[in-house]
Symmetry: C2
Subunit: 383 residues, 2 copies
C-alpha cells in the first residue's frame, strides 16, 4: 500500500523530463533510447497511471453510472447483466446506484452528475416526476432513461410495452379456449398496475369478451398478496378458467392457492405471469410468463449511451422493446417440464441468458457451484 510512483518518480529514475515520460506512456513519437529508459524505470517501480489525474485533465472518467431502483429486483438485475458487458467492452467502468425507488434519491443521482465522476448515466426510475424532468433538462452528462417518459421529453429512452404484453397473454389464453379470464393485479395507483389493468380491459374488448368486474382482483405485487387475491377471487368466481397475473410473484401465489384448492393447472385454470423471471422456469408447473424484455432494454440503453459518449448529439431517440410470451406448462398442458416451448413475440430471443446455456436458468445459479471449475483443491469452507 506504499504510495505509488508518479511520472515524476519515473522521470527522475530515468533521467528525463516528465513530458518525455508522458510521451512514452502514451506512445507518442520518442527516441528509442528514451523509450527504453522510461519503460525500464516504469517497470522497476511498478508504475500505474493515476486515473484520477488523467480524468481531471481529459475531462473523461471512463465511468458510467447505472441507477437501478432496487438491487434485489430480478428485472433490474437482468438489465444490469446486459449493461455490464457492453460497457466493459467499450472500456467503461460501471458505477452502481440503488435508489430504492425513492424519488429524492433519483434526483440526487441526477444532480450528482455535476460532480463529473461519470461520463454518463443510465437510469431506470419507477415513475418520472416533474422533478425528474427538470433535472433531465439540465443534466450535466448524457442520460438514458429505461422506462417511458412524457411525449416530447428531450432524453433518450428505452421502453417496454406492457400493453402489448398483456394482450399477448390474454390472446394466448383465449386461443386456448378460456373465456373466464381473470386479472390479478397490483395496486392501480402504480404505473404498471394501471397500465396492465387498462391493457387487460382493452384486450378483452378487442376479443369481444365482456369486461366483468368480478373477474378483477387487486392485491399487491407479492406472492402472499397474490395468493390472498386469488383466494378471494376463487371464492367469488369458482368457475374461473384462467388467471392473468400482473407479475410472476403473484402467479406463484396463485399456483399455491390453486393447488390447495384442488384445481389442476392448466386443465382447470391456466395461469400466466409477467416479467419472465428465473422463478417462472423454476416453479412447478413451470409458469407461462410475459417477458417485457428487461435484458434487451438494458442492452439497448447501454448502446444508446455509448453512442452519446462517442459524440453523437443528434435528436433524442426512443427505443421500444417488444414483449415476448414464454409459454410453459401453466398454460400449455402438454409438456409439464420446465423448458420454454416457444414464444409468441418476435422470433429470436436476442441476448437471453449469458453462458453457453446449460439448463434454462443457465448461469442462474452456478450457485456456489461456480466457485471454481478446474479448481484444485484449495479448501473452501473455513476452519
Amino acid at each position: 500500500m506504499a504510495d505509488g510512483p508518479t511520472i515524476n518518480t519515473i522521470a527522475e529514475r530515468a533521467g528525463v523530463s516528465i513530458a518525455s515520460v508522458s510521451r512514452v506512456l502514451n506512445g507518442l513519437p520518442t527516441r528509442q533510447e528514451t523509450v527504453r529508459k522510461v519503460m525500464a524505470a516504469a517497470d522497476e517501480l511498478g508504475y500505474v497511471r493515476n486515473a484520477v489525474a488523467r480524468s481531471l485533465k481529459s475531462r473523461r472518467t471512463h465511468q458510467v453510472a447505472f441507477a437501478m431502483a432496487d438491487v434485489g429486483n430480478p428485472a433490474y438485475l437482468a438489465m444490469l447483466r446486459q449493461i455490464q458487458p457492453v460497457l466493459k467492452a467499450a472500456g467503461y467502468r460501471l458505477v452502481l446506484h440503488s435508489t430504492d425507488a425513492v424519488v429524492a434519491d433519483e434526483i440526487d443521482v441526477l444532480h450528482s452528475l455535476g460532480e463529473r465522476y461519470v461520463d454518463g448515466l443510465i437510469m431506470s426510475p419507477l415513475r418520472v416526476t416533474e422533478a425528474h424532468l427538470q433535472m433531465l433538462a439540465t443534466a450535466r452528462a448524457p442520460v438514458v432513461i429505461i422506462g417511458s417518459v412524457p411525449e416530447g421529453t428531450r432524453v433518450d429512452n428505452v421502453r417496454a410495452d406492457s400493453r402489448t404484453g398483456v394482450r399477448l397473454a390474454v390472446d394466448h389464453l383465449y386461443a386456448l379456449g378460456r373465456r373466464r379470464i381473470a386479472m390479478i393485479n397490483g395496486p392501480l395507483d402504480t404505473v404498471p398496475g394501471a397500465a396492465r389493468g387498462a391493457a387487460y380491459r382493452e384486450a378483452l374488448r378487442d376479443l369481444g369478451l365482456p369486461y366483468d368486474e368480478s373477474l378483477v382482483q387487486i392485491g399487491d405485487f407479492y406472492r402472499q398478496e397474490g395468493a390472498a387475491a386469488v383466494a378471494a377471487l376463487l371464492a367469488r368466481v369458482p368457475d374461473v378458467d384462467a388467471l392473468m397475473c400482473a407479475n410472476d410473484l403473484i402467479a406463484l401465489g396463485a399456483l399455491d392457492v390453486l393447488r390447495a384448492a384442488g384445481k389442476r393447472v392448466p386443465e382447470d385454470v391456466a395461469v400466466v405471469g409477467m416479467d419472465d423471471t428465473d422463478l417462472a422456469a423454476a416453479s412447478w408447473p413451470s409458469l407461462t410468463s410475459v417477458s417485457l424484455g428487461s435484458a434487451e432494454r438494458g442492452k439497448a440503453a447501454a448502446e444508446l449511451l455509448l453512442e452519446r459518449l462517442q459524440g453523437d448529439d443528434g435528436e433524442p431517440r426512443v427505443v421500444t422493446v417488444p414483449p415476448r410470451l414464454a409459454v410453459r406448462a401453466s398454460t400449455a398442458g402438454a409438456d409439464q417440464g420446465s423448458a420454454d416451448q416457444g414464444s409468441a413475440g418476435q422470433g429470436k430471443t436476442g441476448q437471453g441468458k449469458t453462458g453457453q446455456g446449460k439448463t434454462d436458468q443457465d448461469s442462474a445459479d452456478q450457485g456456489s457451484a461456480d466457485q471454481g471449475r478446474a479448481g484444485h483443491g484449495r479448501k473452501e469452507g473455513g476452519q
Copy 2:
C-alpha cells in the same frame, strides 16, 4: 450539458478569491457577508463540486469496487445486495466489476488498484492462485477477499463453511429417519465440488453410516445435468430415500426427475439443495436448502473494508459465516406450502425488500425472503 461552473466562476461572480469560495464551501470560518455572496453565486450558477478534482487533491475517491465472478449468479448478487447499502450509508460509491471467473481479469482488477480510482476493493475470486497472492501482497489499496485464502495470507477475508453446511443437511435427513442418503454433486475438480463431496463422506462417517459409492453421483451444477444424474442414480438405486444436492439447480433437476418417476417428495425421497437461492422458495414443493450465507458474507466484507478505509491497519482478519438450513417442504412433509418453516440459524427475516414495492419489476421477488437474516458472522480476530 453546458460546461459547469467551477470555483473560479463563483469567485469572479462573488467578487472574492477562490480560496474564500473553497472555505465557504467547506464550512470553514468565514465572514458572514462573504458566505452570503458565495452561496448566492453558487446557487445562481448551479455549482456542484467536481469530484475528480477533489479526489486528486484529497487522494480519496469515495469509491469502492466489488469484483464479482459473474453478475448473473444469485450467490454473488446476494452479496451485492448487502454490500451496496453498507457502502452507500458510509458515503461510498460502488464500482462493479464482473470478471467472468477469469483469473487474468481478476489479476487485472487487482492491478488496476494502482490507478487509484477506488479507495478499496472487495473481491470474490473463484479460486486463489499464486498470481492472486502476489498481487494481494502488493495491492495499492485495502482489499477484502470473500472466500478462503491460504493460511497466513495477509489479507482480510470472509469465508463460508460448506463443510458444516453439508453436515447440517445430512444430519437433518438422518433425523428424519433417512438412511439411504445419496449425494448428487458437481465436478470434483471444482472447489465446491471437492469440499462438498468430502463433507458428505465425513458427515456419514460421524453418523455411523457406511459410505456407499453407488449413492454418489457426479454431474454438473445445472438443472439438466442434475436431472440426468438423478435419473442415473435412480436406475441404480431405486430405493434411495434422500438426495443431498450440491446446489439448488441440481435439486430442481432432481425434483423434475422424481416427479416424472412417480416418487413423492418428501414421502418417498427427501431432497435438499444448497445455496438457498430464490428458486428454492419458488419451487414446488419448496426446497429445503443450505444457505452458505452469501448475504452475510457480503455484509461482513463491506464492513471489514470500511474499517480499513477508516484507518484501521491492524492484523488481517478472518470472518467465517455459519451456514444455515432453511427447512421447507421437500423434506418437511407437513406444510406443502412455500414459506420457510423455520431455519436452523437465527430467526427474523431482517431487511427484506425496500420501498413500497409497487410497480412491476418492483420487487419482483421477495422470493428470497430470507436473504437478509441479521447474520452475525463471528469474527475470529487476527490469527
